[in-house]
Amino acid sequence: MKFTYYPGCSLHSAHLGYDISCKAVFEELGFELEELNDWNCCGATIYMSVSEVTALACAARNLALAEKQNRDLVAPCSSCYTILNKANRYLKNSPDLREKVNDCLKEEGLEYEGRVKIRHPLEVLINDIGTELIKLKVKKPLDGLKIAHYYGCQIVRPEKGFDDRENPTTMETLFETLGAEEVYFPYKVRCCGGMLMTTFESAALKLSMEILESAVENGADCIATTCPLCQMNLEAYQDKINKTFDKKFEVPILFFTQLLGIAFGLSSKELGIDKNFYRCEKLSEIEKQLPIQQQPISI
Protein backbone atom coordinates (compact mmCIF):
# COMPACT_ATOMS: atom_id res chain seq x y z
CA MET A 1 0.00 0.00 0.00
CA LYS A 2 1.18 3.48 -0.83
CA PHE A 3 0.64 6.85 0.78
CA THR A 4 1.42 10.29 -0.56
CA TYR A 5 3.89 11.94 1.78
CA TYR A 6 4.03 15.64 2.57
CA PRO A 7 7.25 16.33 4.50
CA GLY A 8 6.89 20.08 4.93
CA CYS A 9 9.73 22.55 5.21
CA SER A 10 11.08 21.76 8.64
CA LEU A 11 11.45 18.04 7.94
CA HIS A 12 13.75 18.93 5.08
CA SER A 13 16.03 21.19 7.08
CA ALA A 14 16.21 21.16 10.87
CA HIS A 15 14.40 17.89 11.49
CA LEU A 16 15.87 15.49 8.99
CA GLY A 17 15.72 12.83 11.68
CA TYR A 18 11.93 12.84 11.64
CA ASP A 19 11.88 12.64 7.86
CA ILE A 20 14.20 9.67 7.48
CA SER A 21 12.89 7.78 10.50
CA CYS A 22 9.33 8.14 9.27
CA LYS A 23 10.22 6.76 5.87
CA ALA A 24 12.34 3.97 7.36
CA VAL A 25 9.62 2.82 9.75
CA PHE A 26 6.95 2.71 7.06
CA GLU A 27 9.28 0.85 4.73
CA GLU A 28 10.01 -1.70 7.44
CA LEU A 29 6.28 -2.30 7.78
CA GLY A 30 5.90 -2.74 4.04
CA PHE A 31 4.23 0.57 3.27
CA GLU A 32 5.60 3.13 0.92
CA LEU A 33 5.62 6.89 1.40
CA GLU A 34 5.89 8.64 -1.91
CA GLU A 35 6.83 12.28 -1.61
CA LEU A 36 4.36 14.75 -3.08
CA ASN A 37 5.93 16.14 -6.22
CA ASP A 38 6.80 19.86 -6.14
CA TRP A 39 5.05 20.62 -2.85
CA ASN A 40 5.18 24.10 -1.33
CA CYS A 41 5.03 25.43 2.22
CA CYS A 42 1.63 24.85 3.83
CA GLY A 43 1.63 28.40 5.22
CA ALA A 44 1.79 27.28 8.85
CA THR A 45 -0.22 28.99 11.55
CA ILE A 46 1.73 32.18 11.13
CA TYR A 47 0.43 32.99 7.64
CA MET A 48 -3.10 32.95 9.05
CA SER A 49 -2.41 36.00 11.16
CA VAL A 50 -1.44 38.02 8.08
CA SER A 51 -3.82 36.89 5.39
CA GLU A 52 -6.23 34.06 5.71
CA VAL A 53 -7.06 33.69 2.02
CA THR A 54 -3.44 33.51 0.88
CA ALA A 55 -2.75 30.95 3.58
CA LEU A 56 -5.63 28.89 2.28
CA ALA A 57 -4.40 29.19 -1.31
CA CYS A 58 -0.94 28.02 -0.21
CA ALA A 59 -2.40 24.92 1.41
CA ALA A 60 -4.87 24.34 -1.42
CA ARG A 61 -2.09 24.03 -4.00
CA ASN A 62 -0.71 21.06 -2.08
CA LEU A 63 -4.15 19.53 -1.76
CA ALA A 64 -4.74 19.90 -5.48
CA LEU A 65 -1.40 18.25 -6.25
CA ALA A 66 -2.20 15.42 -3.85
CA GLU A 67 -5.63 14.88 -5.33
CA LYS A 68 -4.05 13.86 -8.62
CA GLN A 69 -2.40 10.91 -6.87
CA ASN A 70 -5.71 9.61 -5.51
CA ARG A 71 -4.21 8.49 -2.21
CA ASP A 72 -4.34 9.61 1.39
CA LEU A 73 -1.88 12.37 2.24
CA VAL A 74 0.39 11.67 5.21
CA ALA A 75 1.73 14.78 6.97
CA PRO A 76 4.04 14.11 9.95
CA CYS A 77 4.57 17.75 10.94
CA SER A 78 1.87 18.83 13.39
CA SER A 79 1.61 22.29 11.91
CA CYS A 80 1.22 21.00 8.35
CA TYR A 81 -1.29 18.44 9.58
CA THR A 82 -3.51 21.06 11.24
CA ILE A 83 -3.27 23.65 8.49
CA LEU A 84 -3.92 21.22 5.66
CA ASN A 85 -6.84 19.81 7.61
CA LYS A 86 -8.22 23.26 8.30
CA ALA A 87 -7.92 24.33 4.66
CA ASN A 88 -9.46 21.05 3.57
CA ARG A 89 -12.42 21.54 5.89
CA TYR A 90 -12.98 25.10 4.74
CA LEU A 91 -12.75 24.22 1.06
CA LYS A 92 -14.99 21.20 1.41
CA ASN A 93 -17.71 23.03 3.28
CA SER A 94 -17.80 26.13 1.14
CA PRO A 95 -18.21 25.69 -2.62
CA ASP A 96 -18.06 29.45 -2.92
CA LEU A 97 -14.62 29.66 -1.36
CA ARG A 98 -13.43 26.62 -3.32
CA GLU A 99 -14.40 28.26 -6.55
CA LYS A 100 -12.42 31.39 -5.69
CA VAL A 101 -9.35 29.46 -4.63
CA ASN A 102 -9.58 27.23 -7.71
CA ASP A 103 -9.60 30.35 -9.79
CA CYS A 104 -6.17 31.19 -8.35
CA LEU A 105 -4.90 27.66 -8.82
CA LYS A 106 -5.88 27.80 -12.50
CA GLU A 107 -2.68 29.77 -13.05
CA GLU A 108 -0.88 26.46 -12.73
CA GLY A 109 -3.62 24.37 -14.28
CA LEU A 110 -4.65 22.86 -10.96
CA GLU A 111 -8.05 22.27 -9.48
CA TYR A 112 -9.16 20.96 -6.12
CA GLU A 113 -12.42 19.09 -5.67
CA GLY A 114 -12.15 18.31 -1.98
CA ARG A 115 -11.41 14.60 -2.07
CA VAL A 116 -8.08 14.37 -0.23
CA LYS A 117 -7.89 12.88 3.25
CA ILE A 118 -5.10 14.18 5.47
CA ARG A 119 -3.60 11.69 7.88
CA HIS A 120 -1.03 11.73 10.62
CA PRO A 121 1.52 8.88 10.63
CA LEU A 122 0.70 8.11 14.26
CA GLU A 123 -2.92 7.54 13.38
CA VAL A 124 -2.02 5.53 10.26
CA LEU A 125 0.19 3.27 12.35
CA ILE A 126 -2.60 2.52 14.81
CA ASN A 127 -5.65 2.48 12.55
CA ASP A 128 -4.42 1.25 9.16
CA ILE A 129 -1.41 -0.85 10.02
CA GLY A 130 -2.48 -1.95 13.47
CA THR A 131 -0.59 -2.94 16.59
CA GLU A 132 -0.62 -6.64 15.68
CA LEU A 133 1.48 -6.18 12.59
CA ILE A 134 3.75 -3.77 14.46
CA LYS A 135 4.23 -6.36 17.20
CA LEU A 136 5.37 -8.91 14.64
CA LYS A 137 8.11 -6.59 13.42
CA VAL A 138 9.62 -5.88 16.84
CA LYS A 139 13.18 -7.11 17.02
CA LYS A 140 14.43 -5.20 20.05
CA PRO A 141 11.63 -4.59 22.57
CA LEU A 142 11.91 -1.32 24.44
CA ASP A 143 11.73 -3.13 27.79
CA GLY A 144 12.12 -0.84 30.76
CA LEU A 145 12.39 2.35 28.73
CA LYS A 146 10.36 5.00 30.50
CA ILE A 147 8.76 7.35 27.98
CA ALA A 148 6.92 10.60 28.57
CA HIS A 149 4.45 10.91 25.69
CA TYR A 150 4.24 14.49 24.55
CA TYR A 151 1.63 15.35 21.92
CA GLY A 152 1.78 19.13 21.87
CA CYS A 153 -1.14 21.26 20.78
CA GLN A 154 -1.67 20.96 17.12
CA ILE A 155 -2.46 17.33 16.42
CA VAL A 156 -5.12 17.16 19.12
CA ARG A 157 -6.62 20.65 18.95
CA PRO A 158 -8.66 22.69 18.03
CA GLU A 159 -11.06 20.34 16.26
CA LYS A 160 -11.72 16.83 17.37
CA GLY A 161 -9.17 14.83 15.45
CA PHE A 162 -8.22 11.20 15.81
CA ASP A 163 -7.83 11.32 19.57
CA ASP A 164 -9.08 12.98 22.71
CA ARG A 165 -8.24 16.67 23.05
CA GLU A 166 -7.37 16.62 26.75
CA ASN A 167 -6.02 13.14 27.25
CA PRO A 168 -4.86 11.48 24.04
CA THR A 169 -3.64 7.89 24.36
CA THR A 170 -2.60 6.82 20.85
CA MET A 171 1.12 6.93 21.60
CA GLU A 172 0.63 5.03 24.85
CA THR A 173 -1.15 2.24 22.98
CA LEU A 174 1.59 2.15 20.39
CA PHE A 175 4.50 1.99 22.82
CA GLU A 176 2.78 -0.48 25.10
CA THR A 177 2.98 -3.02 22.29
CA LEU A 178 6.71 -2.36 22.07
CA GLY A 179 7.23 -3.10 25.76
CA ALA A 180 8.00 0.43 26.88
CA GLU A 181 6.87 1.84 30.18
CA GLU A 182 4.57 4.84 30.41
CA VAL A 183 5.18 7.53 32.99
CA TYR A 184 2.62 9.81 34.55
CA PHE A 185 2.83 12.94 32.45
CA PRO A 186 0.10 15.50 32.98
CA TYR A 187 1.76 17.98 30.59
CA LYS A 188 1.26 15.86 27.51
CA VAL A 189 -0.94 18.36 25.66
CA ARG A 190 0.42 21.52 27.28
CA CYS A 191 1.75 24.19 24.95
CA CYS A 192 5.57 24.38 24.62
CA GLY A 193 5.51 28.04 23.58
CA GLY A 194 5.63 27.49 19.85
CA MET A 195 6.75 30.46 17.80
CA LEU A 196 6.87 32.60 20.94
CA MET A 197 10.35 31.18 21.44
CA THR A 198 11.53 33.70 18.83
CA THR A 199 9.18 36.59 19.51
CA PHE A 200 8.73 36.47 23.28
CA GLU A 201 11.42 34.19 24.60
CA SER A 202 11.06 34.78 28.33
CA ALA A 203 7.44 33.65 28.31
CA ALA A 204 8.06 30.58 26.18
CA LEU A 205 11.08 29.37 28.16
CA LYS A 206 8.92 28.95 31.25
CA LEU A 207 6.39 26.79 29.40
CA SER A 208 9.08 24.51 28.01
CA MET A 209 10.74 24.34 31.41
CA GLU A 210 7.54 23.13 33.04
CA ILE A 211 7.18 20.34 30.50
CA LEU A 212 10.78 19.19 30.99
CA GLU A 213 10.46 19.41 34.75
CA SER A 214 7.32 17.30 34.80
CA ALA A 215 9.01 14.63 32.66
CA VAL A 216 12.13 14.57 34.83
CA GLU A 217 10.24 14.47 38.11
CA ASN A 218 8.18 11.55 36.93
CA GLY A 219 11.33 9.65 36.05
CA ALA A 220 11.15 9.61 32.27
CA ASP A 221 14.24 8.51 30.33
CA CYS A 222 13.17 10.46 27.30
CA ILE A 223 10.30 12.43 25.83
CA ALA A 224 8.63 11.11 22.70
CA THR A 225 7.05 13.77 20.55
CA THR A 226 5.17 14.15 17.29
CA CYS A 227 5.86 17.79 16.53
CA PRO A 228 9.05 19.28 15.01
CA LEU A 229 8.58 22.66 16.66
CA CYS A 230 8.10 21.11 20.10
CA GLN A 231 11.21 19.00 19.55
CA MET A 232 13.14 22.14 18.66
CA ASN A 233 11.88 24.15 21.63
CA LEU A 234 12.40 21.40 24.17
CA GLU A 235 15.78 20.25 22.91
CA ALA A 236 17.65 23.14 21.36
CA TYR A 237 16.63 25.60 24.07
CA GLN A 238 17.49 23.30 26.98
CA ASP A 239 20.79 25.12 27.50
CA LYS A 240 18.98 28.42 27.79
CA ILE A 241 16.35 26.92 30.09
CA ASN A 242 19.07 25.52 32.35
CA LYS A 243 20.77 28.87 32.51
CA THR A 244 17.61 30.90 33.10
CA PHE A 245 15.99 28.69 35.71
CA ASP A 246 19.12 27.18 37.24
CA LYS A 247 18.30 23.60 36.28
CA LYS A 248 20.36 20.67 35.08
CA PHE A 249 18.17 19.08 32.47
CA GLU A 250 19.62 16.73 29.90
CA VAL A 251 16.46 15.20 28.58
CA PRO A 252 16.65 13.48 25.19
CA ILE A 253 13.72 14.50 22.99
CA LEU A 254 12.97 11.89 20.35
CA PHE A 255 10.39 11.58 17.62
CA PHE A 256 8.06 8.65 18.12
CA THR A 257 9.17 7.22 14.78
CA GLN A 258 12.78 7.13 15.99
CA LEU A 259 11.82 5.05 19.03
CA LEU A 260 9.75 2.80 16.81
CA GLY A 261 12.69 2.36 14.46
CA ILE A 262 14.98 1.25 17.28
CA ALA A 263 12.39 -1.36 18.29
CA PHE A 264 12.37 -2.57 14.68
CA GLY A 265 16.12 -3.12 14.89
CA LEU A 266 17.22 -0.18 12.78
CA SER A 267 20.42 1.65 13.70
CA SER A 268 20.38 5.12 15.21
CA LYS A 269 22.14 6.46 12.13
CA GLU A 270 19.41 5.19 9.86
CA LEU A 271 16.91 6.99 12.07
CA GLY A 272 18.80 10.26 12.44
CA ILE A 273 19.11 9.91 16.21
CA ASP A 274 22.77 10.94 15.95
CA LYS A 275 21.55 14.39 14.91
CA ASN A 276 19.88 14.92 18.30
CA PHE A 277 21.69 16.95 20.95
CA TYR A 278 21.17 14.61 23.91
CA ARG A 279 21.85 10.90 23.96
CA CYS A 280 19.46 8.51 25.60
CA GLU A 281 21.67 5.96 27.40
CA LYS A 282 18.95 3.40 27.86
CA LEU A 283 18.02 3.54 24.21
CA SER A 284 21.65 2.99 23.18
CA GLU A 285 21.73 -0.10 25.42
CA ILE A 286 18.60 -1.42 23.76
CA GLU A 287 20.13 -0.77 20.37
CA LYS A 288 23.19 -2.85 21.27
CA GLN A 289 21.10 -5.89 22.23
CA LEU A 290 20.83 -8.83 19.89
CA PRO A 291 17.59 -8.95 17.93
CA ILE A 292 15.09 -11.48 19.19
CA GLN A 293 13.70 -14.16 16.95
CA GLN A 294 10.02 -13.67 16.27
CA GLN A 295 8.00 -16.83 16.59
CA PRO A 296 6.12 -17.39 13.36
CA ILE A 297 2.46 -17.19 14.25
CA SER A 298 0.09 -19.62 12.67
CA ILE A 299 -3.34 -18.22 12.14
Partner: protein
Protein backbone atom coordinates in the same frame (compact mmCIF):
# COMPACT_ATOMS: atom_id res chain seq x y z
CA UNK B 1 -12.21 55.62 26.68
CA UNK B 2 -12.76 58.08 29.47
CA UNK B 3 -15.06 60.15 27.33
CA UNK B 4 -17.19 57.15 26.49
CA UNK B 5 -17.56 56.55 30.21
CA UNK B 6 -18.65 60.11 30.71
CA UNK B 7 -21.37 59.72 28.16
CA UNK B 8 -22.85 56.29 28.61
CA UNK B 9 -24.10 54.69 25.44
CA UNK B 10 -22.00 56.86 23.13
CA UNK B 11 -18.86 55.56 21.47
CA UNK B 12 -15.95 57.62 20.27
CA UNK B 13 -15.51 57.86 16.54
CA UNK B 14 -12.25 55.93 16.76
CA UNK B 15 -13.84 53.16 18.79
CA UNK B 16 -16.65 52.78 16.28
CA UNK B 17 -14.13 52.41 13.48
CA UNK B 18 -12.11 49.82 15.40
CA UNK B 19 -15.28 47.93 16.13
CA UNK B 20 -16.23 47.87 12.50
CA UNK B 21 -12.75 46.66 11.50
CA UNK B 22 -12.78 43.94 14.12
CA UNK B 23 -16.24 42.69 13.16
CA UNK B 24 -15.10 42.62 9.56
CA UNK B 25 -12.22 40.32 10.55
CA UNK B 26 -14.32 38.28 12.95
CA UNK B 27 -17.14 37.46 10.63
CA UNK B 28 -15.04 34.95 8.71
CA UNK B 29 -14.90 32.77 11.83
CA UNK B 30 -17.64 30.18 11.76
CA UNK B 31 -19.73 30.60 14.88
CA UNK B 32 -18.18 33.90 15.93
CA UNK B 33 -21.54 35.22 17.11
CA UNK B 34 -21.21 33.04 20.21
CA UNK B 35 -19.13 35.81 21.74
CA UNK B 36 -22.51 37.26 22.74
CA UNK B 37 -23.26 34.42 25.12
CA UNK B 38 -19.99 34.53 27.11
CA UNK B 39 -20.71 33.60 30.73
CA UNK B 40 -17.59 35.30 32.07
CA UNK B 41 -16.78 32.04 33.89
CA UNK B 42 -13.02 32.43 33.40
CA UNK B 43 -12.31 28.92 32.12
CA UNK B 44 -10.26 30.47 29.32
CA UNK B 45 -8.09 32.50 31.69
CA UNK B 46 -7.63 29.51 33.98
CA UNK B 47 -6.69 27.17 31.13
CA UNK B 48 -4.32 29.53 29.38
CA UNK B 49 -0.70 28.46 29.95
CA UNK B 50 0.44 31.99 29.19
CA UNK B 51 -2.02 33.99 31.26
CA UNK B 52 0.74 34.60 33.81
CA UNK B 53 2.44 36.87 31.29
CA UNK B 54 -0.68 38.66 30.07
CA UNK B 55 -1.88 42.08 31.16
CA UNK B 56 -5.49 41.43 30.15
CA UNK B 57 -6.87 37.94 30.74
CA UNK B 58 -8.68 36.17 27.87
CA UNK B 59 -11.95 36.48 29.81
CA UNK B 60 -11.39 40.22 30.14
CA UNK B 61 -10.87 40.53 26.38
CA UNK B 62 -14.46 39.55 25.81
CA UNK B 63 -15.70 41.70 28.68
CA UNK B 64 -13.83 44.72 27.29
CA UNK B 65 -15.13 44.11 23.82
CA UNK B 66 -18.69 44.00 25.09
CA UNK B 67 -18.13 47.12 27.11
CA UNK B 68 -17.00 48.94 23.99
CA UNK B 69 -13.30 49.29 24.61
CA UNK B 70 -11.44 47.60 21.75
CA UNK B 71 -8.80 50.29 21.95
CA UNK B 72 -7.47 48.90 25.26
CA UNK B 73 -7.48 45.36 23.89
CA UNK B 74 -5.40 46.30 20.86
CA UNK B 75 -2.95 48.18 23.06
CA UNK B 76 -2.50 45.21 25.39
CA UNK B 77 0.22 42.64 24.95
CA UNK B 78 -2.24 39.77 25.43
CA UNK B 79 -3.08 39.36 21.76
CA UNK B 80 0.63 39.11 20.89
CA UNK B 81 1.42 36.68 23.69
CA UNK B 82 -1.22 34.15 22.68
CA UNK B 83 0.65 31.13 21.33
CA UNK B 84 -2.58 29.80 19.77
CA UNK B 85 -2.53 26.47 21.61
CA UNK B 86 -6.34 26.41 21.48
CA UNK B 87 -6.77 25.19 25.07
CA UNK B 88 -9.29 27.95 25.86
CA UNK B 89 -11.24 27.22 22.72
CA UNK B 90 -11.60 23.51 23.42
CA UNK B 91 -12.59 24.08 27.02
CA UNK B 92 -15.05 26.97 26.63
CA UNK B 93 -18.39 25.73 28.01
CA UNK B 94 -20.43 27.71 25.50
CA UNK B 95 -18.13 27.08 22.56
CA UNK B 96 -16.68 30.52 21.95
CA UNK B 97 -13.75 30.36 19.52
CA UNK B 98 -11.49 32.39 21.77
CA UNK B 99 -8.25 31.71 19.86
CA UNK B 100 -9.84 32.54 16.53
CA UNK B 101 -11.24 35.74 18.02
CA UNK B 102 -7.71 36.63 19.15
CA UNK B 103 -6.51 35.98 15.58
CA UNK B 104 -9.15 38.42 14.37
CA UNK B 105 -7.93 40.95 16.95
CA UNK B 106 -4.37 40.46 15.71
CA UNK B 107 -5.43 41.13 12.14
CA UNK B 108 -7.34 44.21 13.30
CA UNK B 109 -4.29 45.49 15.16
CA UNK B 110 -2.09 44.95 12.12
CA UNK B 111 -4.60 46.71 9.89
CA UNK B 112 -4.88 49.67 12.26
CA UNK B 113 -1.11 49.70 12.90
CA UNK B 114 -1.34 49.04 16.61
CA UNK B 115 1.60 46.69 16.98
CA UNK B 116 4.48 47.66 19.18
CA UNK B 117 8.16 46.98 18.76
CA UNK B 118 8.36 44.89 21.90
CA UNK B 119 6.11 42.16 20.60
CA UNK B 120 7.49 41.51 17.15
CA UNK B 121 4.98 38.87 16.08
CA UNK B 122 4.16 40.97 13.10
CA UNK B 123 7.81 41.23 12.02
CA UNK B 124 8.18 37.47 12.18
CA UNK B 125 4.99 36.98 10.18
CA UNK B 126 6.17 39.40 7.50
CA UNK B 127 9.59 37.74 7.26
CA UNK B 128 7.81 34.42 6.96
CA UNK B 129 5.56 35.50 4.12
CA UNK B 130 8.49 37.07 2.28
CA UNK B 131 10.44 33.81 2.56
CA UNK B 132 7.57 31.84 1.10
CA UNK B 133 7.09 34.35 -1.68
CA UNK B 134 10.73 33.99 -2.61
CA UNK B 135 11.16 30.23 -2.80
CA UNK B 136 7.81 28.65 -2.04
CA UNK B 137 9.37 26.75 0.83
CA UNK B 138 10.66 27.90 4.16
CA UNK B 139 14.27 27.87 5.20
CA UNK B 140 14.73 28.41 8.90
CA UNK B 141 18.08 30.16 8.67
CA UNK B 142 16.83 32.62 6.04
CA UNK B 143 13.72 33.26 8.12
CA UNK B 144 15.77 34.03 11.22
CA UNK B 145 18.14 36.24 9.24
CA UNK B 146 15.29 38.27 7.78
CA UNK B 147 13.63 38.46 11.17
CA UNK B 148 16.77 39.82 12.82
CA UNK B 149 17.19 42.34 10.03
CA UNK B 150 13.76 43.68 10.93
CA UNK B 151 14.05 43.61 14.69
CA UNK B 152 17.71 44.36 15.31
CA UNK B 153 20.72 42.45 14.05
CA UNK B 154 22.43 42.51 17.46
CA UNK B 155 19.90 40.00 18.70
CA UNK B 156 21.31 37.37 16.38
CA UNK B 157 24.50 37.06 18.44
CA UNK B 158 22.69 35.29 21.25
CA UNK B 159 21.57 32.69 18.71
CA UNK B 160 25.07 32.05 17.43
CA UNK B 161 25.95 29.11 19.76
CA UNK B 162 22.68 27.40 18.93
CA UNK B 163 23.16 28.03 15.21
CA UNK B 164 26.65 26.53 15.27
CA UNK B 165 25.45 23.51 17.21
CA UNK B 166 22.71 22.93 14.67
CA UNK B 167 25.17 23.41 11.83
CA UNK B 168 27.61 20.79 13.12
CA UNK B 169 24.79 18.32 13.59
CA UNK B 170 23.86 18.89 9.96
CA UNK B 171 20.52 20.40 10.83
CA UNK B 172 21.10 23.87 9.46
CA UNK B 173 20.69 24.25 5.75
CA UNK B 174 21.91 27.46 4.22
CA UNK B 175 20.26 26.90 0.88
CA UNK B 176 16.67 25.87 0.57
CA UNK B 177 14.99 23.84 -2.09
CA UNK B 178 12.61 25.67 -4.36
CA UNK B 179 9.25 25.10 -5.88
CA UNK B 180 9.97 24.23 -9.52
CA UNK B 181 7.91 26.84 -11.23
CA UNK B 182 8.27 29.65 -8.75
CA UNK B 183 6.84 32.37 -11.01
CA UNK B 184 3.54 30.58 -11.34
CA UNK B 185 3.45 29.98 -7.61
CA UNK B 186 3.95 33.68 -7.01
CA UNK B 187 1.12 34.41 -9.40
CA UNK B 188 -1.17 32.20 -7.30
CA UNK B 189 -0.17 34.04 -4.14
CA UNK B 190 -0.62 37.45 -5.75
CA UNK B 191 -4.01 36.56 -7.13
CA UNK B 192 -5.22 35.17 -3.82
CA UNK B 193 -4.15 38.31 -1.98
CA UNK B 194 -6.72 40.25 -3.94
CA UNK B 195 -9.42 37.77 -3.01
CA UNK B 196 -12.02 38.49 -0.40
CA UNK B 197 -13.29 35.73 1.79
CA UNK B 198 -16.92 34.95 1.22
CA UNK B 199 -18.89 36.64 3.93
CA UNK B 200 -21.12 33.78 4.89
CA UNK B 201 -18.93 30.75 4.91
CA UNK B 202 -21.07 29.01 7.45
CA UNK B 203 -24.25 30.20 8.97
CA UNK B 204 -23.17 33.35 10.73
CA UNK B 205 -25.44 35.93 12.22
CA UNK B 206 -22.97 38.51 13.26
CA UNK B 207 -24.32 42.01 13.09
CA UNK B 208 -22.62 44.90 14.84
CA UNK B 209 -25.86 45.90 16.52
CA UNK B 210 -26.47 42.39 17.80
CA UNK B 211 -23.27 42.27 19.82
CA UNK B 212 -22.75 43.55 23.31
CA UNK B 213 -24.79 46.47 24.43
CA UNK B 214 -27.12 47.28 21.62
CA UNK B 215 -27.13 50.97 22.30
CA UNK B 216 -23.34 51.09 22.12
CA UNK B 217 -22.86 49.03 18.92
Amino acid sequence: MKQSLVKPGVLLQQETELRRAFLEHAKVIPGAEKIKICLQCGTCSGSCPLSYAMDIMPRELIALFRAGDIDSILKSRTIWICASCYTCQTRCPVGIKVTDVIYALKRTAIEKKYFTKHYPVHSLARSFTNCIYKTGRLNESTLMFRYFLRTGIWKSFSYLPLGLKMFFKGRLKLKSSKVKNIDVFRKILKKSEALELPVEREKIMYQPDAVGYKSVG
